[in-house]
Symmetry: C2
Subunit: 506 residues, 2 copies
Amino acid sequence: MPTHPHAPMPNDSPAADNNPSADDRRAHESLDPEDWQRMRALAHRMVDDALTYLQTVAQRPVWQPVPPAVQTQLQGKLPHEPSAPEKVYDEFVENILPYPLGNIHPRFWAWYMGNGTVFGALADLLAATMNPNHGGGQHAANLVELQVIGWMKEITGFPDTASGLLVSGGSMANLVGIAVARNSCAGFDVRRYGVADSAQKLLVYASSETHSCNQKAVELLGLGNENLRKIDLNDDYSMHLQHLADTIAADQQAGHRPICVVATAGTVNTGAIDDLNAIADLCQQHKIWFHVDGAIGAVALLADNVRAKLCGLERADSVAMDLHKWLHIPFEAACVLVRDRELHRQTFSLMPEYLQKNTRGIASGGHWFSEYGVQLSRSFRALKIWMTIKEHGSKKLGRMIARNVAQAQYLGRLIAQHPKLELRAPIGLNIVCFRFNPGNVSAAALGKLNRAILENLQEQGLAAPSDTTLRGEYCLRVAICNHRSRDEDFDLLVRETIRIGDSLAA
Amino acid sequence: MPTHPHAPMPNDSPAADNNPSADDRRAHESLDPEDWQRMRALAHRMVDDALTYLQTVAQRPVWQPVPPAVQTQLQGKLPHEPSAPEKVYDEFVENILPYPLGNIHPRFWAWYMGNGTVFGALADLLAATMNPNHGGGQHAANLVELQVIGWMKEITGFPDTASGLLVSGGSMANLVGIAVARNSCAGFDVRRYGVADSAQKLLVYASSETHSCNQKAVELLGLGNENLRKIDLNDDYSMHLQHLADTIAADQQAGHRPICVVATAGTVNTGAIDDLNAIADLCQQHKIWFHVDGAIGAVALLADNVRAKLCGLERADSVAMDLHKWLHIPFEAACVLVRDRELHRQTFSLMPEYLQKNTRGIASGGHWFSEYGVQLSRSFRALKIWMTIKEHGSKKLGRMIARNVAQAQYLGRLIAQHPKLELRAPIGLNIVCFRFNPGNVSAAALGKLNRAILENLQEQGLAAPSDTTLRGEYCLRVAICNHRSRDEDFDLLVRETIRIGDSLAA
């Protein structure tokens, strides 16, 4: 092999550039550090700061607003000239680091997010260092993604022959699943002719508690949200099976074509899980695609106290699962699995001449991820999943999920014990909806009072529940997806809710 | 403010847990490191390894295949038990790190990818440490994303009032742009009724050199690839304007509805740039959405030797730009800009009760990114863009682009000077298509010979061009999107191509 031209003159060796002219310097400039030793020192500082930041997170307020002066700082125009990396980092430390969303904190229970992990964050450094593109090709990173997808099949009970793809989140995972459903069940070549060519209305079914991303997917796919049938609920907020069966029957009678049922394994409002086996039976009977939105709940198959409720998930034609929620992988990390690999590939595969696979070299390697989803350029998100799961093992990850479910029950008991607190929905999984009610207050005033409690909890940096509206009534919502939360964090939540509520009501 | 329950007993203080029982330990376990000092030491090792890896990249082969034994190592089943982080990292160092795709190397010119930067990779560590979710809310990270989007408007000459979104890559950026085009120009409520409700065929136009992701987008949006009109090419591989005008006129006469022209600023095969001003005029005249796929070329507005060719881009209704290509941000980083903020929002906004904005607390903050794209959970990809652009400034980033364009011309001259090398397309921007031709060889044999040259260049770790087929003929393709490439790297490419070609032809 010939010598590599860079070998004798690495960028970091000033001795090799003996008093170079400005032109020489310009010819050899790159986006690499001008001074590797300085960058190395800065990188070590960053690592120290990052670890300390996470080690001490519980000692800081869960959230604080970004001060107006800092907001102004973050509005500067495009910088034309370079800045010293240390200066850029100092700006970060001063203006960005102190004002997080809060979801890394042990008392963040808003919306539905994971915390991330230290090792997962370090994995992102390593991933961006290698910086491969996961569209396809023969390299180790692609094998890591295939391995991680294999683990997801093991968790869900999907067969080895299924296909899968790591994606940005539940929204994309559901979009992919419903796209395959559309193309596979429409009865004609949708890729070629488009939805307009359908002789029948193409219909999708989901409970009225389905996540909004499923409606977005139906809209984006050109199906129209009128054709997303919202099915009624049982008292526990799961899908009403008889209403689903009746709606499908009526639609078929009317000459429409049901193509997909989107079941939910863990609704975002209350954590309800649809009866997956019953829906699987119905889909099988009517040859309808059975998609499971398991963004929240699918990984709870690892938890002893949840697993049984998810029975039937393994029968899905496709399943969406978030890994940046209850597996605490740093954002973005999710997975979609499709039972029939060929239907999956047929929905997305498009291999123009510049993407032809070769039998040798970089473009070899049988599996091209770009044939299974929207993206062609794809990052090495697999690494943080691989490292986090190896570090902790599936059993411990399952225990962390199980503990959150137990903590929801614990919080439920605290609420039940207190005369001024009301549970507003059954605790389906790990989500507790409740409100402060001192009595003798109108419904409207009660909503206002609880909103003020929420604002005070957040603004005082104490805890971060979010809020929602259940059957028309405002309530606080505690979604416990947090490996750092301890029982005493819920004691504090209840104590402070009462304190703030009493003081506001007075 | 009350004391925080974690404060007196940080996770890292074994003294606080005086001989705890197994149950106590279980109750307090988390996914944080059991031993912070050990994790800190490991993190420092990772940083050192990462910097050395990038500092010495030029001294290693551009690519090497993953050995079968390592492939087997990367097929293990789901780990149930934990592993020491050091052990997991050692596995990474042994089985993954030595087998990159190659795009970080100075002689990688395959497909079309950036290198990444050291500071950008460190930014990913910081982003994953804070681990915010960019769906919405009041926190510093969202302000950073808004600032970065503002910079993209400055670069492209888009107005302040335009909207934008950071996305995973060009595929998603184009999908968002074409989705807004569909919903804005169809003439009815596509979100509600779906594409099936259209009284007319909805048509999209792009040159036959348009990137495959645009066809994917048209298919996904339910428009049907039959309704993507592929327009003929000029000799320089740009869109043939008269053919575009004639096709639109014929379609209108036939009662169809042209909704969008996708112009390309930098085709993937040859780097050709469509005549953006002429297309803008035509779109204006016919009230058709003017989308620019600037995945490759849009950021070249920063380069003195390209800017003029991109004239008219600032008139687009929407533009897709990749930042992990020619700005060298680590994967994934791209941006879509839409001139009419309200049309953009109307395509994607869906705010269910659990996403209601509040006027105070975490859910305040006027701008919710989830209203402008597919994703709800979104990572802090803005940080690596923010830090990289601050570090280098736009002028230097422009110089690096300009140098790649000059290097394409340099390589073109080397090819022109050598009797056995043939340029196969005009060098539009930074992409050089050529082949080795010793004479007296059939067309079929010539293709085979050049494929073998490519395989040898890659397998010997010398250089990584890719290949493509132009007007039916196989050729090597050198896409120069590399801040580490120097002129001598192209000298080596030519030298080795001749050496391998001669030896194979003999």
